[in-house]
């Protein structure tokens, strides 16, 4: 039974916890409410509850996820049982027995989970700032004292009549054999157990255990790709981007509290793996540190700029520029943190306010601004690839079902990419698809500008394109470039451009299904498929290209270890394609090594940028004789015949 002192302690611990969390909430409120995400509450609750019972990508980190599962339920269930038992509910014997058995089992699993996590930290030497493992040690102490107290209790009461119930507490029973019949010892241990629990609860907001509370908000506010698209900023006023804590949205600040520093983002970040200075976790953690600093400086009111990118900050200039926006970190993050949004915000500040960015991008920006394409070639060359095919031009008032959005790389980059565009158009003609091109009226979709933080340039290009598309009455767009695909599909609607956008692989698959394209004979090559980030993780298109390949190939696709939503970036995204220099290894070479390791003879991809980088990587590595890089469109062209 609880004494008055105990009640006092309980209240004190709860008050401490509540004030601690209230303080964190105040910190989050430093953020900009305008940047907040609005999610329908029914959707939010559904997503929250679903993710509690079905953690994200459970099997991809089986070890940690199982350990976490044990600890999570090992904390919640016994706590609930103890709370309920305070009201002394009257239960039938079988229920009491099964509950006591359940408690023993869960306690054991929770110890296992705690030990698993501690062991991992020790084995990996992965103990950043030491303090992060304190909650784990407390948890372990709680569990062990709990079992010992149980054993003592049983050893005291064991002599009484009716010992059958002891079998339902096997661990307590086993321990009771080893422990003395000492009521004093029992008293001490049960108090210790109790106070440790109270301390743990009070300590939560002051340690990484605050993630337990904050991540609930993260899970509630999780977004799908269309919602998670980078948000536009109004091009008015004299301040843009996120240069200070106050410029992040409240949800973004909350992310830094929800982060447990599990490090899965770092483990999956291609930039980090290839030896570049970027650490997505570092970005999130640094935002948290800056938030605390800003909060201590001025309480929860009045804006005070804390330079995140200045020399005092720990997010270096090179860090944010080595991100390829591949979304691997966001996609693996168990609490749905928004690393890429954070990085783009920091880039926006660097570009729009400070004009500080790698000098290579200046040329890119100027090209996009003056020529309307990323390579500085000019719109009058955008129809050069059509040689002999003569597709319908939309500006000549041709009525077409689809607009074929060619994109800068497809129309301009080099002969090889132009040949691919021609291949795509030839296939469409063969299948009798009614399509047209914008030709000289097309401009860059603006993707690199947006990822690089040059929102001004992006909006200029986006508005120009939307105006063209609308004035030509375009409803449906097909494109072969995943970057254009993502921007046209998920970002143009922010500026009033709502189009139905289809990736070419989706259309081709349907054309085969409808019998409008047929294969002469499937290819015998053993190929592996690389998921482009902007097709896969950004838009969830994993299966359609594989189905298409299933039709084209005799044997199955040899999957790489990192495929599907776990795919490894080619290194081109986020504008990195236009920045030649690189620290550490080249990302595309790492990917090619992974591809070669499958034993495949070649790699198929569905993104022009992936293909360009892979092709050069294969040549660099001297593997171009034994390993080939093919675009899925060219494969289709080779294997089909006109009907």
């Amino acid at each position: 039974m609880l004494s008055r002192l105990d009640l006092l302690f309980i209240v004190a611990s709860l008050v401490l916890m509540a004030t601690g969390f209230a303080r964190r909430h105040k910190m989050w409120r430093l953020g900009d409410p305008a940047g907040d995400i609005t999610i329908r509450s029914s959707k939010g609750w559904r997503r929250l509850i679903l993710s509690i019972f079905r953690p994200r990508r459970f099997t991809d980190n089986l070890y940690e996820n199982i350990a976490h599962l044990f600890i999570f339920w090992g904390f919640i269930i016994p706590l609930a049982i103890v709370l309920i038992s305070q009201f002394r509910p009257i239960l039938p014997a079988w229920a009491g027995h099964s509950i006591s058995f359940l408690l023993d089992l869960i306690g054991l699993l929770a110890i296992a989970g705690t030990v698993m996590l501690l062991a991992k930290k020790f084995l990996r030497g992965n103990m950043p700032a030491g303090r992060r493992s304190i909650p784990l040690w407390i948890l372990l102490a709680i569990l062990i004292t709990g079992f010992i107290a149980e054993g003592l209790r049983l050893s005291i009461t064991a002599d009484g009549p009716g010992n059958a119930h002891l079998l339902f507490s096997p661990i307590g029973f086993a321990l009771s054999k080893l422990l003395p019949e000492s009521p004093l010892f029992f008293d001490i241990l049960i108090r210790l157990h109790f106070y440790l629990v109270l301390f743990f609860i009070a300590y939560m907001p002051f340690s990484v255990m605050r993630h337990a509370w904050a991540s609930l908000f993260g899970l509630y506010h999780q977004e799908n790709s269309r919602e998670a698209a980078i948000r536009p900023i109004a091009l008015e006023g004299d301040y843009f981007g996120t240069g200070a804590v106050e410029d992040f949205s409240r949800i973004q600040l909350m992310d830094s509290d929800a982060c447990m520093s599990c490090g899965r983002c770092d483990e999956n970040c291609p930039a980090h793996i290839s030896g570049k200075p970027l650490r997505p976790r570092g970005v999130i953690n640094e935002i948290g540190r800056q938030m605390e600093a800003a909060f201590q400086k001025n309480g929860a009111g009045g804006k005070q700029e804390t330079g995140l990118l200045n020399t005092a900050g720990r997010i270096g200039q090179e860090d944010i520029w080595s991100c390829t926006t591949c979304l691997a970190c966001v996609n693996i993050c168990p609490i749905f943190a928004r690393h890429v949004t954070d990085i783009v915000g920091l880039r926006r500040y660097a570009v729009l306010m400070k004009s500080q960015f790698p000098s290579e991008y200046k040329q890119l920006f100027k090209h996009m601004e003056t020529f309307g394409d990323t390579f500085g070639i000019g719109s009058c060359m955008r129809e050069e690839w059509t040689s002999g095919l003569n597709p319908a031009r939309v500006y000549e008032d041709n009525e077409v079902d689809f607009l074929f959005w060619v994109g800068c790389s497809g129309a301009l980059y080099e002969d090889r990419t132009r040949a691919k565009t021609l291949a795509a158009a030839t296939i469409l003609k063969r299948a009798g698809v009614s399509f047209g091109i914008l030709g000289k009226e097309e401009a860059c979709c603006g993707d690199p500008a947006r990822r690089l933080g040059n929102e001004y340039l992006f909006q200029r290009l986006a508005n120009r394109n939307i105006e063209t598309l609308k004035s030509r009455g375009i409803k449906k767009i097909i494109t072969s470039c995943p970057h254009c695909f993502h921007v046209l599909r998920n970002e143009y609607h922010q500026f009033g451009g709502d189009f139905e956008v289809i990736h070419l692989t989706q259309l081709l698959k349907d054309l085969f299904k409808e019998g409008r394209l047929t294969i002469t004979s499937p290819s015998r090559s053993l190929l592996t498929y690389h998921d482009p980030c902007y097709l896969g993780r950004y838009n969830g298109i994993y299966d359609q290209p594989r189905e298409l390949l299933g039709l084209l190939l005799e044997s199955n696709v040899r999957e790489m270890a990192a495929c599907g939503n776990n795919s490894f970036c080619c290194g081109a995204g986020g504008g990195a394609f236009w920045c030649g220099k690189t620290t550490g290894r080249r990302i595309e070479e790492i990917r090619i090594e992974q591809a070669i390791a499958t034993g495949a003879e070649g790699l198929v991809t569905a993104c022009p940028f992936c293909e360009i980088l892979f092709e050069s990587a294969v040549r660099q590595m001297g593997a171009d004789q034994s390993f080939k890089v093919v675009d899925i469109v060219q494969l289709v062209l080779q294997l089909t015949e006109s009907n």
């Binding site: 729009l352 306010m353 004009s355 100027k366 000019g378 009058c380 060359m381 001004y456």
Partner: protein, 286 residues
């Protein structure tokens, strides 16, 4: 202190000029224009001076049709305080310089910065004419500029070839034309760009400027001297009797003349040095 930067909009140097397939005429709508890169450097230098000495006023000045307001806006986005466009077509350097000189003389200034040359005509004369007409000192192709507003002097560094630099001190007002390597022009920040979009451009009609021209040469400007015809180059034709690979080799080697054979001296560094020395003595080169 007031700095006037003379800028020019030119056809983009990297762009196909959009020649009409039928007539071989340049289609103006296919043209893409840019700010002359030398002028961008001059503008950047002016802004750096402004940042160093607050209170400095930077004025962007151009002579051109209305489309050239684009480059004025760009230089304003870079940081120029005001913009002036003289409406007219840049025909010849002297006319241009005369018109610009009139505008500058009317408002007065301490430093005039121009690009060394415009990358379309590659003339490089406007700056010099301008200084002559205004009767102020000039230094062309400068690489560094240190201004002392108190003493009203400037110290400039210019390249005189072979890696040598020349240091010149002069009193202000003066005109400098800048070399491209002087600095790396910045990329405009968004607040500056938005400000530049709202800023007013002062427009002056070329006809309205009362300009006294030298009657001898007149407004018609300078006589253009065509460059001499280039010397015809002998193209080697290989003997058609030879095999294809042999002909290719001859063409590639540029006429089949046996390439001068060099002597390769091998051995330990000391011995090799001795051998080289003996060759040099033998050839009477030392």
């Amino acid at each position: 202190m007031r700095i006037v930067v003379c800028i020019k909009q030119i056809g983009h140097i990297c762009h196909p000029i959009g020649i009409d397939r039928k007539g071989g005429v340049i289609e103006p709508e296919k043209m893409i224009y840019m700010l002359n890169p030398y002028d961008e450097v001059a503008m950047e230098e002016a802004i750096r001076i402004k940042e160093k000495f607050p209170g400095t006023e930077v004025i962007a000045l151009t002579l051109g049709p209305s489309r050239s307001e684009e480059v004025l806006r760009y230089s304003s986005a870079l940081g120029a305080d005001s913009m002036i466009r003289v409406n007219g077509d840049p025909t010849d350097p002297r006319t241009t310089a005369t018109l610009l000189a009139k505008v500058i003389a009317d408002m007065g200034c301490d430093i005039i910065l121009c690009g060394k040359k415009a990358m379309d005509t590659n003339g490089g004369m406007v700056g010099s004419f301008l200084a002559e007409i205004l009767d102020i000192g000039q230094t062309t192709g400068i690489l560094k500029l240190y201004v002392d507003p108190k003493k009203r002097t400037a110290l400039v560094e210019r390249s005189i070839g072979r890696g040598d630099r020349e240091l010149i001190e002069c009193s202000l007002p003066a005109l400098f034309t800048v070399e491209r390597g002087m600095n790396e022009p910045r990329y405009p920040t968004l607040p500056h760009r938005l400000r530049s979009e709202k800023q007013k451009i002062t427009r002056i009609e070329a006809n309205s400027l009362t300009v006294a021209f030298d009657t001898e040469s007149g407004l018609g400007g300078l006589p253009t001297l065509d460059p001499p015809r280039p010397k015809p180059k002998k193209v080697f034709t290989p003997d058609s009797q030879l095999s294809a690979s042999e002909r290719m080799r001859l063409i590639m080697s540029g006429g089949g003349r046996a390439a001068k054979k060099g002597d390769l001296i091998e051995g330990a560094p000391e011995k090799a040095a001795e051998a080289i020395m003996s060759v040099l003595i033998q050839e009477k080169m030392v």
